[in-house]
Each structure stands twice: as C-alpha cells, then as structure tokens.
Amino acid sequence: MIPAAFDYYRPQDLDGVISLLQEHGDDARVIAGGHSLIPLMKLRMAEVPHLIDLQSITELFGIEVGSKIRIGAMATQSDIINDISLASAAPILKEASLQIADPQVRYMGTVGGNVANGDPGNDMPGLMQCLDASFLLRGPDGEREVKARDFYQGAYMTEREDDEVLVAVTFDAPKGGYAYEKQKRKIGDYATAAAAVIISKDGSVCKGASIAMTNLSDTPIFCTDASNSLVGTSVTADDIKKAVNEMIEAIDPAEDNRGPVEFKKHAASVVLTRAIKSAWERA
C-alpha cells in the first residue's frame, strides 16, 4: 500500500512549521509519530500534499512534572511509561499508555498526535478530559489554551485551526485514586469501551469524581452527571450503579465491527464499574 505522493518538510523550529501551514492551508498536515496518519495515507483515506514532520522541533519534546504537569506534544507513550516522576505524580497516564497499541507503536505514538487527531478511538482525549487538561495551541498570532473538555467537535473535528500546532498538554497533578479500564478485542486494538476515572476521598466519603469515556460516541465523553452523582456518597454498589446509569445516558455508541449498540453499552457499564471500584480502592 503506497500513499499518494507528497512534499516532505522537516522544519527546525515552530515558526517554520506555522509558516508552512499558513502557506498550504488544509493541503498540509503535521506528522508526529505518524501511526494514525500513515495508515490513513496508505489506505488513501487521507491525502496530504504537504507533510510537515515535527521530529526536529526540540521544544515539543519533554515532560515537566511539578504541581502543574506539562507534557510536550512529541512525548511518546513510551516516554510516558518510562518517566518515573510522571508515573508517581499522575500514574493514570502510565496505566492508560500501557493499554495503547503495542510496544513498537508506543515508541512512535505521541501525546500530541493522540489528542490532536480527533479520532474517537484514541485513548488520550478521554483521559485528558478526565484530568481536566488544557491543550496549548500555537498559531500565527501566538499561543492559546483550549480545555480538553471543549476541544472535540466530532470525529476528526477539533477546535484546532488549520494553521495551529498543538504544542503541549498541561494539567494539575491529580489527587486521589485513579483507574483506566479498557475493553478491546485484542492487544493493539482500539477500545470497544474505555473508562478513565479519578476519585478523591474525605474519610469514607467521595469528595470529588471525574469520569470520561472513550470510543462510545464520535468524541470522547466527559460524564458530568455520572461524576457528580458519586460526590457525597460512600461509593457503594448502588452508587456505582447510579453513576453507570448516568454514563449510559451520556454516551452515544454506533454499531460497527466492535459490536452492536447494546453490546457497547454493556461493555461501557462493565469497564466503568471496574474503573470506579478500582479508583475508589486506590483513593
């Protein structure tokens, strides 16, 4: 499978990237790890006359961990898994990253590509919504921040303008228990259903909860009602059931080769129940 021909660029700084994006408009795409884009190009589902490789843009690399965490767009899943301070400050990232694709893909797959692409099957968008992360976008007029919860409009449609580059994700170090639960047909597959959950505890009462679901609509779904329903409870089996019912109201799965709608709702219920239980135990 050979993609359509394209011109290749490897600019050395972000200004170079942005001016190429301005020049070529939606005929240009940036490429990070390429493990979403290259398969689409090979299948000729995406045609990219001008391909702009980000591999030399050093400011897009790196992970900074403090009370605020900043992950550069070019940090790979493998970088996340092996970053010891990140694993201790925000272990849900490692837990989720280990469930993405396979080792070879994790060496190449980046955070920026995973969140900016807008593929509903990607795991990081839901995770970033759960963490209430912000995405930093750099364009010709400078930098702006968009909340992960406001970023996704539809499948492959996001708030990013054609001449903007997603340069980093930032979020506050999460407090409390966490879990990323993913149901997939086989290793390396996208989720049939996945749940990201963070819960904080005050004594035996839930003080705060954040729930986001993946691949159960054409965007990730941050479940406000399900999250709120857990707050103030002791997260009993009944409380979990209520939260799961709220989640089912919020998602909108479509039938595809991962199963019919009813099955997806069932899988969503199972992964969310497991994730809440596990996050509560760890809180």
Binding site: R10, G34, I38, Y107, G188
Partner: protein, 164 residues
C-alpha cells in the same frame, strides 16, 4: 508533482545514500534498494510486526515509517544481528528451542526481542509476552517463541556474569 529527495541512512553500521520519493516506506527501501530482504512485509498496516527493525534505539514497524522520516537515522535489521556462521544468541535460541515453523515472522521476532532484552535483561515470561505483543505468529502458538527468548536471556546473563 512532488519530487525525489536525497536520503541518508545508516544501516547495520554502513552508510547509504540514495534518492527516493518521500512516500517510499522504510521497509521497501531496505528490501529493494539495499537488498536487505530479512525485514518482511506482512500486513502492511502496522499490526503484524514482521517488518520490525531498530531505528535510533527504538523498535519500529518499518512499514509505518516513510523513508523521508528515516532520513539521517541509524537502523539495525536482522542482517545486522548475526550471520549463519556467527549467529546472535537469540537466533541460536530460536533454532534450539524451535521458536519458528514457517519462519516468516522470525526476523521481526528477533529484532524486537533483542530490544526487549536490552531494556529488560531479566524478564518474566509475562513481561516477554507483553513486550512481544506487537509481533504476530500464526504457526507456533507463541509457546516456543517465549521459551527461546527466555533461554536467550539466561544465556546472555550467564555470559555477562562469566565476563565479570
């Protein structure tokens, strides 16, 4: 019509320079330009792992890398690991423990396993299975592949101890 570009690659320690369209896949450049046909082409969709090589210290699927992205890279293929007369420990172990049947997936298995053992020289069986999850084999049922990698790991570790 987009043109060709000059590509520089270091493969198995040897420098190569050629002109190619940016869209050419790394696996095709290795096989068809450099005659290194050990890296195979299987699914072509980044799932099966038969095209696995080491690029700049990472195990990558060379069917999912454009040659333009690899420009300037340092690549190791199965040919860079051992020869029939001087096999790599992993190659020897796959032979001894019958870690292959048809052999099509073997170059990818061995290049990936080498990187896995470099990063984790004393893996558990479960870690081997998880670390090899990007490589498919339709013959062996994986049992003997895992056995071969475990055997190679212990061989490499005893050689290291003996050297100390």
């Amino acid at each position: 019509m987009p043109g060709k570009m000059e590509i520089k690659l270091k493969v198995n320690g040897e420098d190569h320079k050629f002109s190619a369209e940016p869209r050419e896949l790394l696996v095709h450049a290795l096989r068809e330009r450099l005659n290194l046909t050990g890296s195979h082409v299987g699914c072509e969709t980044g799932h099966c792992g038969v095209c696995t090589v080491t690029m700049n210290g990472k195990s990558v699927k060379s069917c999912t890398v454009f040659v333009a992205q690899a420009d300037g890279a340092d690549v190791t293929t199965i040919e860079g690991m051992g020869t029939p007369d001087n096999m790599h420990v992993l190659q020897q172990a796959f032979r001894e423990h019958h870690g292959l049947q048809c052999g099509y997936c073997t170059p990818g298995m061995i290049t990936r396993a080498a990187k896995l053992l470099e990063e984790n020289p004393t893996p558990t069986e479960e870690e081997v299975r998880f670390g090899m999850a990007g490589n498919l084999c339709r013959c062996t049922g994986y049992q003997n592949i895992v056995k071969s990698i475990m055997a190679a790991a212990s061989e490499m570790n005893s050689a290291k101890e003996a050297a100390q």
